[in-house]
């Protein structure tokens, strides 16, 4: 028995290494082909990618992690929803709602030096309320949340566009943006000389909290039960499933709203139209690649942050166009899906 186990495990490592290598080779191969076809320097492109993502302390702390912050928070929002059986793909809209609310609070000037203590909870509340629309539509009318939350993303986008030209516009009423926040409304930086702000610490802390919540608390267990088997939870556990689903919507929206609040108070210091390049959609990939595990989302958040930071460096230093970067991101995601598949197949074959 032991000998057999030993031989299989040695065979195994080969078998286990081969598919990832193949998939990586294919992804890298396609990328190389496209770079060459576009007459860009391959070595320069790849080294720019490395420099821009992990190549220096600045690249890591100020580029990769700053980008990872909203992706991590939104990834957690998506993961919480998905694990609870709620297909909330409206994190984008909830993010915008949170960003708008935080901005509105900051601009009223309440709270003085403690304005963040009001602004961030306002963002949380706004995100939860925006999600509650989809949650309410599901509970009352059985509307598929995939669709309603997607629709609400577009509504939120136009709402922000209106706000920055209307009620929240900067005082001269010229530019479609708000006034820049004062220092009291700016999240403290974590490392001097770097742009990394408190928001990332909040994200990591929240990941730990969610991990603990799902693992150890009754609320987390209830959410998990409804996500894994709503009928069993209702029958065996006498769980009020509609109420739990609604709660999941609220919590997910709250986290996404927080992400919006963190982005305006930690990075942009003002509300703009187009403040999100689709963070909410990328976050779906962040969450799913982490298999909805909050701790793993810290990792996938960094991965996607690095991908975007590295890709920006490829644009800057190697002249590889923006559109190509989208191709690279798509290929990497597809590559990871393929890897996942080889791993799953390996698992069932055993």
């Amino acid at each position: 028995m032991t000998t057999r186990a030993a031989t299989t495990s040695t065979l195994f490592s080969w078998k286990r290494l081969l598919p990832p290598l193949l998939v990586s080779a294919v992804v890298v191969g396609v990328i190389v082909v496209v770079i060459v076809a576009g007459h860009h320097d391959i070595i320069e492109s790849f080294s720019a990618f490395g420099r821009g993502s992990f190549g220096s302390a600045y690249a890591f702390w100020s580029a990769t992690l700053v980008r990872a912050t909203p992706l991590t928070l939104l990834g957690l929002a998506v993961a919480l929803a998905f694990r609870s059986g709620v297909m909330n793909i409206g994190a984008e809209g909830q993010f915008l709602a949170g960003a708008s609310a935080a901005t509105a609070v900051v601009l009223t000037g309440v709270g003085g030096g403690m304005v963040l203590v009001i602004a961030l909870p306002a963002a949380v509340l706004a995100g939860a309320l925006w999600a509650a629309i989809a949650g309410w539509l599901k509970r009352e009318f059985g509307v598929l949340e995939v669709i309603s939350s997607l629709m609400l993303n577009f509504v939120a986008q136009y709402l922000v566009s209106y706000l920055v030209r209307g009620p929240l516009q900067e005082p001269t009423h010229v530019y479609p943006q708000t006034e820049t926040f004062g220092p009291a409304a700016q999240l403290p930086l974590l490392i001097s000389g770097q742009r990394l702000h408190l928001g990332y610490a909040i994200a990591v802390l929240l990941a730990l909290i969610l991990w603990w919540m799902f693992r150890a608390t009754a609320v987390g267990f209830r959410l998990r039960a409804v996500g894994a088997g709503a009928a069993a939870a209702a029958s065996a556990g006498q769980v009020m499933v509609p109420r739990v689903l609604f709660t999941a919507f609220l919590l997910s929206g709250a986290i996404a709203g927080l992400a919006g609040g963190v982005e305006v108070t930690g990075v942009t210091y003002a509300l703009y139209e187009g403040i999100s390049p689709g963070f909410g959609y990328t976050a779906i990939a962040v969450a799913l690649l982490a298999r909805l595990n909050p701790l793993a989302i810290i990792g996938t958040g960094i991965f996607f942050g690095a991908l975007e930071a590295g890709a920006a460096a490829m644009q800057r230093d190697a002249g590889v166009p923006f559109q190509f970067v989208a191709v690279v991101e798509a290929l990497v995601v597809l590559g990871v899906i393929a890897l996942d598949w080889t791993r799953e197949r390996g698992a069932t074959r055993r």
């Binding site: 496209v34 076809a37 576009g38 297909m87 793909i89 629309i133 539509l137 009352e140 009318f141 059985g142 509307v143 598929l144 995939v146 669709i147 309603s148 997607l150 629709m151 609400l152 577009f154 509504v155 136009y158 709402l159 566009s161 209106y162 030209r165 209307g166 959609y281 990328t282 779906i284 990939a285 799913l288 690649l289 166009p321 923006f322 559109q323 190509f324 970067v325 989208a326 191709v327 690279v328 991101e329 798509a330 290929l331 995601v333 597809l334 899906i337 393929a338 996942d340 598949w341």
Partner: protein
């Protein structure tokens, strides 16, 4: 009022046409149980494929190019979602990115970074005798580029196929309960492949219509979110071919109303007007009531 009505109806139909193509494709995909969020990538690939082929072979063959390009992108999606049993939403997001990115990259490779203004051949409107002179709606429905008339063939065919043919039956069974279909000797994977390729063809047609029958040129963001709107339309149309066409027209009407509102200077902030279609969908969804018509296995992996 009547002189404003005809242009309004025409704008409605024109806006609805590419949406209807894409949504009918999505309808078939969703009926087979696959939610294709990558539709946006399919549309833009179709638009680009149409541009490339039409440039050398004319607008008519351009549509063939559009359909082929749409199907190519759909095939990648199908490979991951059906063959590798990957998650629909994550794959769809990646495919959207891939479509938008690769068309932008290829556009630059083909036509240069600052290439001259591109003008592609377009299909001229082909008024159908007699019918096109019906007051108010004749121009909108019967004096369009011929590709639009394809809808008059596809919609009834699709409606008939889904209820009255063994293929349609198989399609619905796979979307509702794949294991039942398998027991009846139908391969769910094969049905989904075919459904997704059809979806790709229709998405390609949608992009081709934009470029070759409406705008006459290509730009990198020309699909402008139509893939996502099409998904909403399928839901609004309650997963039936006729319903989806109606919903596409409703969306077209909402957009046309928005154009009209701005042209008439009605003084509504234009963001509200632009958000109107989405709010309308949400309202209509709420009004549709509890009993959902969604295929039971929609979005389920494998």
């Amino acid at each position: 009022m009547t002189d404003a009505l005809a242009p309004f109806v025409e704008a409605t139909v024109r806006t609805a046409t590419p949406l209807a193509f894409a949504a009918l494709g999505e309808l078939v995909a969703e009926r087979s149980g696959v939610i294709n969020i990558g539709l946006e990538g399919t549309i833009i690939a179709g638009a680009f494929g149409g541009l490339v082929v039409a440039g050398t072979a004319g607008a008519g063959l351009g549509f063939v190019g559009a359909v082929a390009a749409g199907m190519l992108v759909a095939a990648i999606f199908a490979f991951f979602v059906v063959t590798l049993k990957a998650d629909h939403i994550i794959t769809g997001t990646a495919i959207s990115m891939l479509g938008v990115g690769s068309t932008g990259t290829l556009y630059r490779l083909y036509y240069g970074t600052t290439g001259a203004a591109l003008e592609t051949p377009t299909l001229a409107p082909f008024p159908i005798p007699i019918l096109h002179s019906i007051p108010w709606i004749g121009g909108a429905f019967f004096a369009q580029p011929p590709v639009m008339y394809l809808l008059y063939v596809i919609v009834p065919c699709l409606a008939w196929c889904m209820t009255r043919t063994s293929v349609g039956l198989a399609l619905r069974a796979v979307g509702e309960r794949p294991e039942a279909a398998r027991a009846a000797g139908i391969s769910p994977a094969r049905v989904r492949w075919v459904a997704l390729l059809f979806c790709g063809a229709m998405g390609g047609l949608s992009g081709g219509t934009l470029v070759l029958a409406q705008v006459g040129t290509f730009n990198e963001g020309i699909s402008a979110g139509r893939g996502f709107i099409a998904i909403a339309i399928v839901v609004l149309g309650r997963w039936s071919a006729v319903g989806v066409t109606g919903a596409a027209l409703l969306f077209g009407a909402a957009s046309a109303l928005q154009y009209l509102a701005q042209a008439m200077g009605w003084g509504i902030p234009y963001q509200f007007a632009l958000a109107l279609p989405y709010v309308l969908t949400l309202a209509a969804l709420a009004g549709a009531g509890k009993r959902s018509a969604a295929p039971a296995s929609l979005g389920v992996r494998g």
